[in-house]
Symmetry: C2
Subunit: 283 residues, 2 copies
């Protein structure tokens, strides 16, 4: 696998590939790969003739109080793992090339970012839209693959691409889970062994919400009460949010009348976990 | 000259051109062409193998109190004039395709847009950065040409292109003036015959400021006092701003110690005129 650090070198190679009618499929990442990332790369491998990843822990999407400094990093392991799944190229820019002195331009997706993580992480989506724009302009992909674990992020990127006329197909990839149901995340490495039972309640509460819908429940307040009870019973978990939203607009829903996003963010000890499921009405 | 209204049709043609190693030189405009626009097009004609313009009066850069509705438009004349200077293609999107229902993504260049027009036109630069991003993603140019009459706009576009890693060369083009010195502008059409003398004071005050610098004056307050006196003596003109700024950061300068932007915005009757000159120290 080739590694490029320099933005203009990346652009020149992308131009060469495009002139040669290659299709560039791109997976932007912050590294510290787990099976979820590798599955995104396998999808990119299938969708494009050139599979490109980026590895960049993006400072502008972390608030000063958040875990930018301590975010887990292991570049050598990431390179080995992405090479093994057939990735052609890793773009690994330096922070000072991505954000040189005088940097001052930001992309804001304004409405779908207001609810959920936008409420508890005020700079997050501005940082994500900004860095993804920059990465897109560097890598020049035809296709980009994002995980559905960050559902609101995926919705905001789709919105940005449409609103900005970016000529890129955005592909969402289903959540990949551990055998015990925990959604894969680089931040799972923060969890202490005793915290696992509380962490597992996220996926369990998502399943139980679908079961309530299957049994005929349509009232969001009733479903969210059950979800909150499940998340907190047994202790060790603090709910940041548990909401039922329209999966396109990310606006709160009061009565379930079609596919509805159940989105969770829960603090387990010092680790903030997110998970989600689109609840479906019985056929 | 070919005319394209549809964004994806524009993108497919740009892809075809790029695959054929054409170099796309682009001039974004709001139409109602004067000699200044045509000079930008001639420059694009020289710099690229395909010269593309866009004609789009962009609603997001006008405040509700401003002249979006009354902004002068004459598409047939614009097409005739741009054809005559050898333009290959005019991209003329509709407002409802550029800003469909649900549109919510904006590009903000934050610092160089604070002073000057950013103070009197609060939504202007956000609208410009947003629409230029959209037009760049539609037309996919290698080069884009902007007039220096909108100096702060040119600086903000350069900043956006650099900050966003857009792989586009931005070329600034000198101000084109009428024989009597008035900077060409589509808005000059608003001027009544009796308002011309006041309008001509903009360029005259720029020249006199350079003469003061040639004579050794370095104090911004002294120079700006002379400029304000020139602009207002004789009546019929209200100064929105007259400022001396660093031409890269657009921050106010107190003492002239290198190339310095003198930027003016002046109301002449109901017409807001802008003009500028980079004052140079004697060699």
């Amino acid at each position: 696998m080739r590694i490029i650090e320099n933005i203009s070198e990346m652009q020149r190679l992308a131009d060469t590939w495009r002139a040669g009618r290659e299709r560039i499929a791109f997976v932007p990442t912050m590294g510290f790969f787990h099976e979820g990332h590798l599955d995104l790369m396998r999808t990119a491998r299938k969708l494009g003739t050139k599979a490109v990843i980026s590895i960049f822990v993006n400072p502008t999407q972390f608030a000063p109080t958040e875990d930018f400094e301590s975010y887990p990093r292991d570049l050598q392991r990431d390179i080995d793992l992405s090479t093994a799944v057939g990735t052609d190229l890793a773009f690994v820019p330096r922070v000072d090339e991505m954000y040189p002195e005088g940097f001052q331009t930001y992309v804001n997706v304004t409405q779908v970012t207001e609810n959920l993580c936008g409420m508890s992480r005020p700079v997050f989506f501005r940082g994500v839209a900004t860095v993804v724009s920059k990465l897109f302009h560097a890598v020049k992909p035809h296709i980009a693959v994002f995980g559905q674990k960050d559902f609101q992020q995926l919705v905001s990127i789709r919105r940005m691409v449409k609103d900005m006329n970016m000529d890129i197909d955005i592909v969402g990839h289903p959540i990949v889970r551990e055998q015990d149901g925990l959604a894969m995340s680089s931040r799972n490495t923060y969890l202490k062994p005793g915290e696992r039972p509380a962490a597992l309640r996220l996926n369990r509460s998502l399943k139980e919400a679908q079961e309530l819908v299957d049994l005929g429940e349509r009232n969001a307040t009733v479903i969210l009460k059950a979800v909150n009870d499940r998340l907190t019973t047994g202790g060790g978990a603090t709910v940041d949010y548990a909401r039922l939203c329209d999966p396109d607009t990310i606006e709160d829903v009061e009565v379930i009348s079609g596919p509805t996003l159940l989105a969770l963010a829960v603090w387990v000890g010092k680790t903030r976990l997110i998970d989600n499921r689109v609840l479906l009405l019985p056929a």
